[in-house]
Amino acid sequence: MKSVVAVVCCFMVTLSFAVGSYGQEPAKPAAFYKGKNIDFILNEAPGGDADLLGRLLGPYVKEHTGATPIFVNRRSAGGVEGYVYLSKAAPDGLAMGIGTTLPMLLNKITGAPGAIYEPDKFGYVCSFLRVRNVFIVAAKGPYKTIADLKKAKKLVLGGTSPQGNLALATMSSIKLLDLDAKVITGTKGPGPLLQDILSGEIAGTCLPMQLAMRGIRDGNYRALFTLANERFSAIPDVPSLKEAYDMAGDEEKKELLAMWDQSLVMSQAIITPPGLAKEKLDFLREIYAKLKSSPQFRKDMDKLFAFHVEDADILAGPEAEKLVKDAMTKAGKMKSIFLQFIKEYRL
């Protein structure tokens, strides 16, 4: 009898809590985050730019939200694992990703195995460091100008994976300049590629600017052109491919270059799972917008990337989202072009 009474009492207490909480409004975002843990999914191995940026952001996130960031590297399959994880994560605001948008796009566009996420469905909080590719060669090597590259026969250029940004940007350069060249893939990252250029094993490669900058500043590498329509302010002496090479009349090449200039732009984006409540997304966007005007954060970021990141290259969430959506509208066309490049230019 006593046990029956105990069970009924417990039930009544539980029921009253349930009824009581039913009518409550969900906590405001600011209150929601206090004391909670946020999973920061880093789509790279420790030490990569997105990884380091994420760890830089940690203290600011804690300061402005009251939540503790927990960093989790989900880097398998070139970061695809992380994007898939985020696409399936609960949209409760407690999981965020920091990843490089260009590999995210290219993996999806080229149909990388397992890339079941939809880039245009993620929530975009903001994006740091919008950069394009620059073609580099060894500073003391035989290729001083684009003309030298064009004159050369059977050039060997470098790339990481065949469907990756570096290889595809380099293959696009071959197409745009009509070089007698092939791309050898398989190198495990930009570091070994840079070493291969120094040792003369490969003639050059395309790299995102922040990876090339350190070597260019050291005097080891020379940038021949930017894979863009305009010059970069950090390397004002390096011409853009548009001004360095006349593509008059060749609409196909102009379109390809425009793709690299406008759509296939590298940025380090903070993304949330699809379906996150607008209120929470806006709250997070406000937090990160404050970072743009934080002198300490800007100083740390400049140290990390080895050059001053302009205001224009820090994008608000809606702008980052638009960039990705625009790129996805051209996905079909890009896929056929890139698969053709891989067939034609891979050594």
């Binding site: 760890r55 399959a77 994976s161 065949p162 094993e201 050291d218 080895a306």
Partner: protein, 496 residues
């Protein structure tokens, strides 16, 4: 350069810098003991230190990552659990020594070799600063292929007892290395559609399973009550005997330091290969190679000198080129960038005192770690007498945490168990686990550099001067036993 060296050394002994090295040492040794690994530790502590002045932050990080192997050698010897993947070779002879009641001697040899190896490599690094760049840049795909082939030629040494079984083990290791994404073709091999295997098998899980779990299974099957039944030398006597053994085998120690250092400066290969190549070399040059695997002190001295010696070379290449040679260095380089120091030729040119601070810091860190570990070693030896049931719990937990923590994936626990079972089978039926691991470490690079060499340089890729020199070394590795016989017969004849 001498001024920079003196300035850099003076910085190391400033109170705050010395304190940061000391804290790094204590944490590094602890991390090594807990089987977490240098990379994870560096990632965990990086956010706490990057706001500090460069000499404090970098000294801490460099000290932390360079003494992890010293801590790892403790668990390798006492429990058969490699604290880090590069400590795996120490288990092969270190743990049997503990089982024979020679834990103190094994600890003394392991810690001492680590300590002196780490210190010696700093002098090698400093001597090589002026010539580092041309040496490293001369290593292109053909030379890298020959270096890896040289490493793989030690499979023959490891397989000495049963060549067919040894080669099966080695080839199996190479085959396992091919699991995952192949960058050359863009094909995922043997991944069964899973992300987990797309980057290949994680070496941590494999090594923890094939050594730690295997030894645990072995002890339980044999019904042992404790790791050791008696102690052959108690207290500091045993530990000191191990340190003395390094002096007795000083040339072996020196050669293995050089092996470790050289492998460290060659990008991409790293400490994992250095330890097994050094182990193979130690076995090859020993007067009693048949005793390797049963508790031979040379089998401890070799790999332990090599893995600590590889840190200075790895760091110097990273600082000189701005290109990290290993995953740990990639993270460390991130630390450099965050504190506002850009590794590369400019660092060598303009911040040479800082370079020396870090190199001397490695030497000091190894020295401090060695002293601390040697002092506590006699107490640590008592682990050999803890009831095996307690150790089963401890080792299982440490193996699973160590396997989980590098990729935060529960499937790594499955990997550890699978390789624990495989390792037990291999040990039971006479297959060489060390040959499998050597194949696993070098296999993917072997295929990569062979393909690359053929594509870029054609079938005569091995005709470069450096490649031909390395080819001679490879021939020497195979010919060594015959040469040894010839010379010993000649010296016997001469004596008669």
């Amino acid at each position: 350069m001498i001024d920079a060296f003196l300035q850099g050394t003076a910085t190391v002994f400033q109170p705050m810098v010395f304190l940061s090295i000391l804290v790094g040492v204590v944490l590094g040794v602890s991390v090594g003991v807990t089987a977490i690994g240098g990379m994870v530790a560096c990632a965990l502590f990086l956010p706490f230190v990057y706001q500090l002045p460069p000499e404090l932050a970098l000294s801490f990080l460099v000290a932390l990552t360079s003494v992890v192997f010293t801590g790892g050698s403790i668990t390798s010897v006492l429990l058969g659990v490699p604290g880090t993947a590069p400590n795996a070779a120490t288990v092969i002879d270190g743990f049997p020594m503990a089982q024979k009641g020679e834990a103190g001697r094994a600890l003394g040899a392991a810690i001492g070799s680590s300590m002196f190896g780490g210190m010696a490599s700093v002098f090698l690094a400093m001597a090589m600063i002026p010539v580092l760049k041309p040496i490293v840049l001369s290593f292109r795909a053909p030379e890298m292929f020959m270096v890896i082939l040289l490493g793989l030629s030690f499979l023959a040494i490891m397989a000495a007892g049963s060549p067919v079984k040894g080669m099966i083990s080695g080839f199996l290791g190479v085959l396992l290395a091919l699991i995952g994404f192949q960058g050359v073709s863009g094909v995922y091999r043997f991944t069964f559609g899973s992300f987990f295997l797309s980057d290949g098998l994680d070496l941590n899980g494999v090594v923890l399973g094939i050594f730690a779990l295997t030894e645990m299974f072995d002890m339980i099957v044999k019904g042992k009550k404790t790791i050791a039944m008696e102690v052959r030398k108690v207290g500091f006597k045993g530990v000191f005997q191990g340190v003395k053994d390094i002096w007795i085998h000083k040339w072996l120690w020196f050669r293995c330091c050089v092996i470790g250092y050289v492998v460290g400066i060659v990008p991409a290969i790293g400490g994992n290969a250095a330890m097994f190549v050094a182990y193979g070399h130690a076995k090859q040059t020993s007067r009693t190679p048949e005793k390797f695997g049963t508790g031979c002190v040379e089998g401890v001295i070799g790999p332990e000198s090599a893995n600590n010696a590889s840190s200075a070379g790895d760091l110097l290449t990273t600082m000189a080129f701005g290109i990290p040679g290993s995953a740990v260095m990639a993270l460390l380089m991130g630390g450099f960038l965050l504190v506002g120091v850009t590794p590369g030729p400019v660092m060598i040119k303009d911040s040479l005192p800082l370079v020396f601070t870090l190199l001397v810091g490695i030497a000091v860190a190894n020295w401090i770690a060695g002293i601390i570990c040697l002092l506590i070693a006699p107490q640590l030896m008592k682990v050999s007498f803890i009831r095996i049931d307690y150790l089963f719990v401890i080792i299982s937990a440490v193996v699973f945490i160590g396997a989980f923590i590098s990729k935060l994936s529960l499937l790594d626990l499955v990997v550890a168990i699978v390789f624990g079972v495989l390792g037990y089978g291999m040990k039971r039926f006479g297959y060489s686990r060390e040959a499998l691991i050597l194949g696993l470490v070098l296999g993917e690079l072997f295929e990569f550099y062979l393909t690359r060499s053929l594509k870029i340089f054609g079938p005569t890729f091995f005709m470069t001067p450096t490649s031909l020199v390395l080819l001679v070394f490879i021939i020497l590795v195979f010919a060594y036993p015959w040469l040894k016989n010839v010379f010993s017969r000649r010296s016997l004849k001469g004596a008669q």
